[in-house]
């Protein structure tokens, strides 16, 4: 295979137009359409929900009810372009560029900690450019961690040297992941750290690394949590804030209020919801951060169990297809990348929806595709591009 993976070279005569696109072995035929459909649907549903949540929020929408809707759709457009670009380059080509990408993203999160970074909602995880543009480099770090770890872990296995990555390789890959995690911890952005830990776990699992690593990592995590709790490293109010998802009374004015209002919004939706734009909780702006972290509450209230369930179902479609891609990849590299993305999406979806439903602590993680936010949107569509690339590049015949 050549570096240009967009056309399948050396196979039959060049065909033109529809014939070529619809041919059995064409790229269009080999793309994972259910996943693309689900991701696009989620993004479009997201745009409606974002619009519903922000059309009355005059204090943030600059007096333009469509402000967030337009930007969300623009983000989607850019995201789609990024996906096409990723697909065109191919994950293998990107494999060579991993050191550069990793270094750039690392530089990005470091920049956040400099005066160039901006603090929003207590976390310093933004770089603000002029003209209303800003980026969250941590979102892209998630991708580069996946790519970087996959590159290290799969190198010798894909070369046929070893069946599984050895301890040194695993250690190297962990080192690669730990640097950005430590930086993100300094922001501090706990949610992103947790997502990255989930990614590491997914990557290690898929790489075939020794069980000892898996269990060792899990044990370290548990011990660390207990230590933080028992050694009073965190103030009581911080622990309360963390635990308020289960008992809103622990932090009634802060997180407890959010969870309570979120639960009321979702609970009041019933089977069919109040109807788009008719949710009183949404119109009344009782739920904070409703276009980003709590966007799922809009679906819950206005679209009810059917609409909110559909979102979970569409996420399920993407994850299911991604799992299939991981299993079907001809190389470990592709498998690891796909599994890392599965872990990322799954954790973020579970954490985000879970916190609105009151079964997970409240952290600032966006719901993939649905939440408003450029960086997140770009990152998940790049991930879709990677998955598609892994899928189309498997050998035609096996």
């Amino acid at each position: 295979m050549t570096g240009n993976s967009f056309s399948v070279s050396g196979y039959g005569p060049a065909r033109a137009g529809w014939t070529r696109i619809l041919a059995r072995d064409s790229l269009a035929r080999r793309l994972d359409w259910p996943m693309l459909f689900a991701a696009t649907a989620l993004s479009l549903i997201g745009s409606l929900l974002v619009y519903s949540a922000t059309r009355n929020r005059t204090e943030i929408n600059q007096g333009d009810p469509y402000y967030f809707l337009i930007r969300h759709l623009m983000n989607l457009g850019i995201g789609l372009a990024l996906m096409v670009g990723t697909l065109w380059l191919g994950h293998r080509a990107l494999r060579n560029a991993v050191p550069v990408l990793y270094g750039t993203s690392l530089l990005g999160v470091l920049l956040v900690l400099t005066p160039l970074g901006a603090t929003i909602n207590g976390s310093r995880n933004w770089i603000v450019f002029g003209g209303g543009f800003s980026l969250q480099p941590a979102e892209f770090v998630k991708i580069t961690i996946i790519l970087g770890m996959a590159m290290i872990l799969a190198a010798r296995v894909d070369a046929g040297d070893k069946p599984y990555p050895d301890h040194r390789t695993v250690l190297q890959s962990l080192g690669l992941a730990t640097v950005p995690i430590l930086i993100v911890l300094l922001m501090p952005d706990l949610g992103t750290v947790l997502a990255m830990v989930a990614i590491i776990l997914g990557v290690l699992l898929a790489s075939g690394a020794s069980n000892r690593w898996i269990f060792g990592l899990l044990t370290t995590g548990v011990i660390g949590c207990v230590a933080i709790w028992q050694l009073h490293i965190l103030d009581e109010y911080q622990i309360n804030r963390f635990a308020a998802f289960a008992n809103p009374d622990l932090d009634p004015a802060g997180v407890g209020y959010n969870t309570n209002q979120a639960r009321i919004a979702i609970g009041s939706g019933g089977l069919t919801g109040a109807g788009l734009f008719h949710g009183s909780q949404t119109t009344g702006q009782f739920v904070p951060e409703q276009q980003t972290d709590f966007v799922f509450t809009v679906a819950g209230e206005e679209l009810g169990f059917l609409g909110a369930g559909l979102i979970i179902l569409l996420l399920g479609v993407i994850l299911w297809r991604a799992c299939r891609i991981a299993r079907d990849s001809t190389e470990l590299y592709g498998t690891i990348v796909a599994a890392g993305i599965v872990a990322w999406f799954a954790f973020q979806a579970f954490e985000n929806i879970g916190m609105t439903l009151g079964i997970m602590p409240v952290t600032g993680l966006p719901l993939p595709f649905v939440s408003y936010g450029g960086s997140s949107m770009f990152a998940v569509w790049v991930a879709i591009g990677l998955l598609q690339s892994i899928k189309v590049q498997r050998p035609m015949s096996a």
Binding site: S207, G284, Q285, G309
Partner: protein, 749 residues
Amino acid sequence: MTNIPETGRTPRVQTRLVVIQILVLSLLGTLGGRLWYLQIREGAEYQKEASGNHVQQVVDPAVRGDILDARGVPLADNETRLVVSASRTDLLKQKDDGKAVLAKLAGVLGMKPEEVSQKVRLCDAKTPQPCWNGSPYQPIPITDEATPKQALQIRERAEDFPGITAEPEAVRRYAGPGKSNTAQVLGYLSPVTDDEIQKAKDTDSPYLRSDMVGRSGLERRYDRVLRGKAGVTRYEVDNLGRVIGKAKSDAAESGSNLVTSIDSRVQRVAEYELDKAMKKARQQFDKITGENYKADSGAVVVMEAKTGRIVAMASAPTYDPNVWVGGISGKDYKALTGKDSDYPLLNRAIQGQAAPGSTFKVVSTAAAVQAGYEWDGGYPCTSSYSVGGQVFKNFEGESFGPISLGRALEVSCDTVFYGLADREWKKDGGINPKKGQPKDYFFKTAHQFGLGKETGVDLPNEVTGRVPDRQWKLDYWKANKDAWCKSGKKDGSYVEKIAYENCLEGNKMREGDEINYSIGQGDTLVTPIQEAVIYGAVANGGTMYHPTIGKAVISADGKTVTPIKPRKSGKLPVSQATLKGMNDAFAGVITRGTAAWKFGGWPQDKIALHAKTGTAEVYGKQTTGWLATYTKDYSVIMTIAQAGTGSGSSGEAVRNIYSALYGVQGDGSIDNKKALLPEPQKGLPKVRTDGTIAAPKVTGDPAKDVEASQQDNPTNDDTQQPATSPSPSTGNSNTRRRPRRRGSRRMPT
């Protein structure tokens, strides 16, 4: 080298990928399950919570219905005051939270800026009064005494006063037409309490925090119809309390108007005459106690005899009902209810009770007939009646020889009734009757006359009075014997002797008890309203009514008129022949009997008046006078405590009330034009198409007009005793003196 499969996956990786897949699916399943739990299973609960979250109510109070007299003249209505209010919701929308507007407003109203800002701040644990205790979404009143000029300034420059309104608002007013007062009958309002709100929460007539509730009188009895239904506008608000939409609204329904049978003019005359009679009595010397009469309380009832409708009801001492309007001050409240007050809130026409004295003889006469005594039989009216060493005297030792029951009633001969009661007592088995033996005609008849229970007048807290029959004696003895037996002494003071006797046999009907009872003394208690019912029934041929003041409820739009019909409560246990005899006897009281000295020159041939006087003895106090009277249309009962005889204390006042009703002039002529109510008011006042009720104008003071017309009344003098009675031949009196007052107790009046 291991074999690397084409898929790039070793079995370990493959297994782990399946694990990942299962894990992912179970996570999504968890989310779905939780979503189902919140939205489907608990959905209704959260829906409730959500609506509580974002809906706020603004109450638009209903205008309370008027209370009108029989001609439509408002006795209680609403006066419009200019109320300036501030809407917190609107103030908070302004950049400085409305501070500038409030300061400007203070300038217009001539108040201090702090004063205004204090009024609109919300009460909480840290905020002392003054502060606003109601809903923050309710407009907060800043003053209810704005002048039209101030209101105009605010309304004309509405853009300068965002969130401020100056609206006329209804405030309860007791109009007092023609100087009438009607205080105790109307009652009063006060703000609803938390308890009441809680209790009425789930009924079909819940209270709102801003509600005023009727506390006594008609305001209380007819509270539900008068109150109407407050309008509620529900606003959807956002998390900062900003209004984002209007939800369901219920318009306010004004309360219905209550038309009463009260005639404000007659009411005024009754109040004025009662007051005048009491003042006069206080100038009279009481020979028995050696000081002037105290005349500390009294009541008048004017009732339509054929329907039981109340035309006037006055109670003294009285008060100005407008003290309640706009919240009563602590000082005023103490003056009305404190220990040192004379309890002007009591409506003594229905809550004052006293021994009826000789007015009770109407019951005793009926009892005698029921017991089988001939109406025309000759009953000895001796000067005294002796029972086992005790001598019961007739008043001033008069004697008339053998007389009929009618004559005994007319001249109020005590000894005739003593004799009859004593014979019945003996027939019933004396001091130790066998079980089931006593027929107790005298007591049974009293119950049949409606004594000892409420008349059912449409006013709250009516008292029952008391018939001291065997059962009551037993109950009373059980309750008090310990105290009696402890304090009683055989040879002690009068009180101690009474206690001693009561301890021994207070549970039994003693001979003296029944003898005393037969002339309305002793433990018997009646209320003026009970007497009005009884004498009204004698007037109308024997039908007793539940007295009513409410005559009709007319909805605010005037479209629905619900009449309140007179309700019969029973029949007097007397034949028509007996009634005729009683009628003649009571007419005789006016023409030649105990009341004649006050009714000289009365045109009896045109307006037949009937009366019975009574004087009740109250231990340790001056006597209570009763005057029970009736014509074919009205019964008028008047009583004054500690004021001497019934005719002496009330005769002139009652005559003046009748003069006012029928237009009788001082010289005995009848001026129909001046008659206030020669016939009971039949119809209801006219309801105009807009729902308002037409009412004649009441000007001047009807009581003064009546007084002026009575200038040349020959009997208008200030004497209390009938020494100069125009009919000395029948110079009898209704009172009598007993050597000992057995079982007589202090009676509240």
